[in-house]
């Protein structure tokens, strides 16, 4: 009872101390914020109305962001914005990136909390216990980004140059294989159709000539040589006719006239891009539509270099997406890239995922849980040791009598034995885990989020 009272008193005191100290230092910033109040009123959905880009990425309002974009090569020097969201160069993007860039507001993995004095932890009621071996095998947790299955993407181009006369499909519409997408009027096709008509006529003439020569030969009037010449002419005319028919069939035109042909969908799927518009002249190089069969997608997993020895093609993977809470997609690794990204020190592994209902979308972010197998075992800790900071689960590991480290942990399952929770990654067996008083430590790491504004590592 007394310990609880001490703990309850200690938390507000610690927080108040931090806030009071930093509030004074932050006074000028508060004044700036007050001055910027009218500007904020104009903001909606996180967009900086003054500069037309996402407020969190606005390099005009926060010039400190510029060196980061410049270092990554994502910089439009002409307009002073990141190239990827430059509202002048790419107005169609609306100043927003393709991915969610909001922070999770949880402390980074490895954030240390050092208490002043060796006995403070005991007085604050901090208690620890050793993480024990769990029942399951350890899992590797790696970030995932979803992309289209490249074997199911069709870039539809015009078969012959011409003018677009009808557009039958738009972005987002689902089309089945063979469905008409557009009608194009082409002078080249018109020429082929005219030549086809002439070729038909030549075939008829050659056929009549051959029959006549054959009849005359039977009567002994014509020589065999002339019959053979007529037969050869018939074969030539027929070959030309068939060639033109095949050419028009390949383009998608009928054997009539007018020079029009229909561009058809080569696969069933969703139209994801349309660059064609009415009355536009297109050549055979210009892509008109992109059609994607999204019934299966690829998950690109960034495997850390240190884990490559434990993962191989065929290893089963469970993927969960940030935007589809709780939904699991299962697959196996089909391919691991033969090279490592020199910057991130990760290798890309590909997992083919079935996509029923089209829930998975390209560029979605998620996490892959890969069964590491082998002799590694997961750890298990008491349920009370796990703290939640925003969307992240944390545990605190004691490094020294007065030193603690925040660890971002992945809980393997909530069905651990009794009061124990299995930890897939983040805590190793044998490490000293804080089981009482961890809320106090979490509060310290989150000072920044609750207004104290100081660096999380004390």
């Amino acid at each position: 009872m007394r310990r609880l009272f001490i703990l309850v008193m200690l938390i507000p005191l610690a927080v108040a101390f931090g806030c009071g100290k930093k509030d004074a230092a932050k006074a000028p910033e508060s004044a700036k914020q007050a001055a910027a109040e009218p500007k904020k009123e104009n903001q909606e959905a996180g967009l900086c109305k003054e500069h037309g880009v996402l407020e969190a990425l606005c390099t005009k309002c926060n010039p400190k962001l510029a060196p980061i974009f410049q270092a990554k090569g994502d910089w439009c020097a002409e307009h002073g914005f990141p190239e990827s969201v430059c509202p002048i160069c790419h107005p169609e993007r609306g100043g927003k990136p393709a991915m969610d860039v909001a922070g999770d507001d949880a402390p980074p993995d490895g954030t240390k909390v050092i208490l002043k004095g060796n006995d403070i932890a005991r007085l604050a009621g901090i208690e620890t216990t050793k993480a024990v071996a769990g029942r399951g095998t350890a899992e590797i947790i790696a970030p995932v980004i979803i992309s289209y299955d490249a074997t199911r993407v069709a870039q539809v181009t015009a078969r012959a140059p011409g003018v677009v006369k009808r557009v039958s499909a738009d972005i987002g519409s689902w089309v089945s294989a063979g469905a008409p997408l557009a009608v194009i009027e082409s002078s080249a096709v018109s020429g082929d159709q005219s030549r086809l008509t002439a070729a038909r006529s030549r075939v008829q003439t050659a056929e009549a000539s051959y029959r006549r020569e054959a009849e005359l030969e039977k009567k002994g009037i014509s020589a065999k040589k002339e019959v053979q010449a007529a037969q050869q002419s018939l074969r030539d005319a027929t070959a030309e006719l068939e060639s033109l028919q095949a050419s028009l069939r390949g383009v998608g035109a009928d054997n009539g006239s007018g020079g029009r042909y229909t561009v058809k969908a080569p696969v069933s799927g969703v139209v994801t891009q349309r660059t064609v518009s009415l009355d536009r002249y297109v050549d055979s190089q210009t892509p008109l539509f992109e059609i994607v069969d999204t019934s299966s997608m690829w998950a690109e997993v960034a495997l850390p270099e240190a884990e490559l020895g434990t993962v191989k093609a065929g290893t089963s993977v469970v993927v969960t997406m940030d935007g589809l809470s709780g939904r699991e997609f299962r697959g196996s690794i089909s391919h691991i890239a033969p090279m490592i990204d020199p910057q991130t020190r990760t290798a890309k592994a590909r997992v083919k995922l079935a996509n029923p209902g089209g829930l998975l979308r390209a560029n979605m972010y998620g996490q892959a849980r890969i069964s590491a197998g082998g002799s590694r075992s997961s750890s298990a800790v008491p349920r009370g040791a796990i703290q939640r900071a925003k969307s992240v689960k944390l545990a605190f590991v004691r490094l020294a009598s007065n030193e603690f480290e925040a660890r971002r942990v992945q809980v393997a399952t909530n069905h651990g034995s009794g009061d124990l929770v299995e930890i897939a990654s983040g805590v190793e067996v044998g490490e000293e885990i804080v089981v009482a008083g961890s809320f106090l430590l979490k509060t310290e790491t989150l000072k920044d989020s609750i207004g104290a504004g100081c660096c999380p590592e004390l």
């Binding site: 007394r2 969190a56 980061i68 990827s84 860039v101 002043k116 790696a142 100081c454």
Partner: protein, 101 residues
């Protein structure tokens, strides 16, 4: 009872001040790069986290969206991938030499 409560409060105050006053005792200016330091210079360095101050998401959380937007973010550890020593234990981030601009 009242005496015991008063004693507890006095004890807590002294504990709080000694335990969490650690930061105020830190030579903050020595650890963190100067505010006007040019990115990429010797002065632009956070000794506490061992990265350039202008790239330090632990000191300035407003930088996180820029790293995320450029694909340089490790969700698992809450750090830029290019700074994550947990993912890449051999990673060495070297402070620019004095006089570099």
């Amino acid at each position: 009872m009242r005496r015991s409560i008063l004693l507890s409060i006095a004890l807590l105050v002294s504990i709080s001040v000694t335990a969490f006053a650690a930061e105020s005792a830190k030579p903050a200016k020595d650890l963190h790069g100067g505010k006007g330091a040019k990115p990429g210079s010797y002065e632009d360095w956070c000794s506490e986290h061992g990265v350039p101050e202008s790239m330090d998401t632990r000191c300035d959380k407003s930088l996180i969206p820029a790293f995320k937007a450029t694909g340089d973010w490790d969700e698992k550890h809450g750090l830029p991938k290019s700074q994550c020593k947990k993912c890449n234990p051999k990673l060495k981030i070297v402070r620019p030499p004095k006089g570099s601009k």
